[in-house]
């Protein structure tokens, strides 16, 4: 955690579930079933890899968690709130608890790297005085200090991805949801980002990360949830990327 203000995870209750999917099915308007009968409970402070082939439903699961999409069946609960019953007004508050790295980055094209990152703090009403140092800290963490004043269009793919990661971390979220955050990064930086996520996880932040990087998943021996055609086919702690481990 950049600021490390939840020292040693003292306030974390590891049995309290923060992300809960209860028998969730998601059918897109065009009839495609992206998720089928998915049950998933992520307790606070957990570190979960979400793996599965392309099109297995990983991103869809994450979209449900931030209420970008609503489940067709079943309930999605985030930190105690049933997202389907959440009044519109409260949606932003729930989203601010989460740090999200989107697979397609979703950077604001008319804002610089610095402004894009600061945005996640501005929406929470943080004062300018506190925004600047926080942004500088995460910029340094992801190695973008030099690119701070460039626009997304002027960044390399990996730099865009790192901007998205920095934005997800800047507001000290209690939950980090990262959708293939290292897809455009070289192995070295990928490992650095992983170290960063592991460190904040140790401070009590719940991390859910979708990835295709078999090396990382296999090496870390964390909890692995595998999807196949919308169903959870594997959920084991200490598993590898592939079924064989």
């Amino acid at each position: 955690m950049p600021r490390g203000n939840r020292a040693g995870g003292a306030m974390v209750d590891p049995r309290r579930p923060v992300l809960v999917l209860n028998d969730v099915t998601k059918t897109y308007p065009n009839g495609r079933d992206a998720l089928k009968d998915v049950d998933l409970v992520v307790p606070e402070g957990d570190f979960v890899f979400l793996v599965g082939a392309s099109g297995a439903g990983k991103s869809t699961l994450m979209k449900l968690l931030i209420r970008d999409e609503l489940a067709t069946q079943g309930t999605v609960t985030l930190d105690g709130d049933d997202l389907a019953r959440l009044p519109r007004r409260k949606v932003p508050h729930v989203r601010r608890k989460i740090g999200i790295v989107f697979q397609d980055f979703k950077l604001l094209p008319t804002k610089t790297v610095r402004e894009n990152i600061a945005f996640a703090l501005e929406v929470t009403g943080t004062s300018r005085r506190r925004i600047k140092p926080a942004v500088n800290r995460v910029l340094a963490l992801v190695g973008l200090t030099e690119q701070a004043e460039q626009y997304p269009k002027q960044l390399s793919g990996g730099e865009q991805q790192r901007t998205a990661i920095a934005r997800a971390l800047v507001h000290d979220p209690r939950i980090v949801i990262a959708d293939e955050p290292t897809g455009n990064l070289d192995p070295l930086i990928s490992w650095e980002i992983l170290q960063l996520l592991l460190r904040i996880n140790e401070l009590g932040v719940t991390v859910l990360m979708a990835t295709h990087d078999a090396d990382i998943v296999t090496a870390l021996r964390k909890r692995v949830v595998a999807l196949e055609e919308g169903r959870v086919i594997r959920d084991e702690v200490g598993g590898g990327y592939h079924r064989a481990g």
């Binding site: 931030i66 970008d68 007004r89 932003p92 508050h93 989203r95 601010r96 989460i98 999200i100 989107f102 979703k106 950077l107 604001l108 094209p109 008319t110 804002k111 945005f119 996640a120 501005e122 929406v123 929470t124 934005r167």
Partner: protein, 294 residues
């Protein structure tokens, strides 16, 4: 609250310039539409002044009997002047009537027939100016009942036609202005909508990152206000630049009309600023709403 306000304004300013192509296109449309609206407003004002001027000319003329007593005349004049419908009363003597008749003939380039007359056949008369042409009948009937009045000249037809014409023109002008106003309203809102449409994805991203509706909306609304105010400023600049030569030209043509330039230019300034600001704000509000309510 104030800091949010200032924050939104600074974001609006940024948004305006970072999407300069769209913002300037929207501002250009805004400017032209405000110019259109204000031109029609000005024409309409001039037009209404002309109508009032014409209506001023409507009056009731009552021919008097020859050889009436001065006291009866004075009495009638006083009672007329006391009527709420009457603006002014003028007495025209027989001699004055003949003089006017001669003048009129010669002005029309027609022969003077009076030398062939043995006697002055024209009666003395009272010319009554009205406050509203529609009151013609009331005053004419009042005069017709007076003993010293020989005859009330019957221009009822003409008056009726004039009244209905001016009423028609007035309604028509207001209607035209309303239509133009609606067109302007729609075009401006539509233009701002198009500009916001081009930024729909940006709004979506903001929402996904946890921005509240207000946080997204207000910068857009202020940006709309900026477009409106900039458009209004340019329009007023153009109008001021055009005012001098135009009014010189207009005065030559309509010098008789009692147009109050001061009050018109004040009205136009308010109109342009008000509708620029209002349209910008409403347009942005409505357009952003579409992307917030989902």
């Amino acid at each position: 609250m104030l800091s949010f306000f200032l924050f939104s304004i600074s974001r609006a300013w940024q948004g305006f310039w970072r999407n300069a192509a769209m913002s300037l296109a929207a501002t250009a449309t805004m400017t032209l539409m405000l110019l259109l609206l204000s031109s029609f407003w000005i024409v309409q004002a001039g037009f209404l002044a002309s109508l009032s001027y014409v209506e001023d000319k409507v009056g009731v003329v009552a021919d008097l009997d020859d050889n009436i007593r001065q006291s009866a005349l004075t009495d009638l004049q006083a009672r007329l002047a006391a009527m709420p419908e009457v603006r002014a009363v003028e007495y025209v003597s027989k001699e004055e009537a003949l003089r006017r008749y001669r003048e009129q003939r010669s002005a029309q380039g027609q022969d003077d027939l009076t030398p062939f007359l043995n006697d002055n056949p024209l009666p003395a008369s009272l010319e009554v100016k009205l406050r509203r042409p529609a009151d013609y009948r009331t005053v004419a009937e009042f005069l017709g009942a007076e003993p010293i009045v020989a005859k009330v000249q019957n221009i009822e037809d003409t008056t009726d036609r004039l009244v209905s014409l001016t009423n028609f023109l007035r309604t028509f002008g207001v209607l035209l202005l309303a239509v133009i106003g609606s067109i302007v309203l729609f075009i401006v809102i539509n233009t701002i909508r198009l500009a916001v449409l081009g930024r729909a994805e940006e709004i979506e991203v903001m929402r996904l990152v946890g921005a509240s509706d207000a946080f997204i909306r207000w910068p857009f609304v202020f940006e709309g206000a900026l477009v409106g105010l900039l458009g209004a400023a340019i329009s007023l600049g153009v109008l001021v630049g055009a005012a001098e030569p135009l009014s010189r030209f207009m005065v030559g043509f309509f010098s008789i009309l009692p147009i109050n330039v001061g009050s018109i230019s004040r009205d136009v300034t308010i109109l342009v600023l008000g509708s620029g600001l209002g349209l910008g704000v409403i347009g942005a509000w409505v357009s952003v709403r579409t992307y917030l309510i989902r």
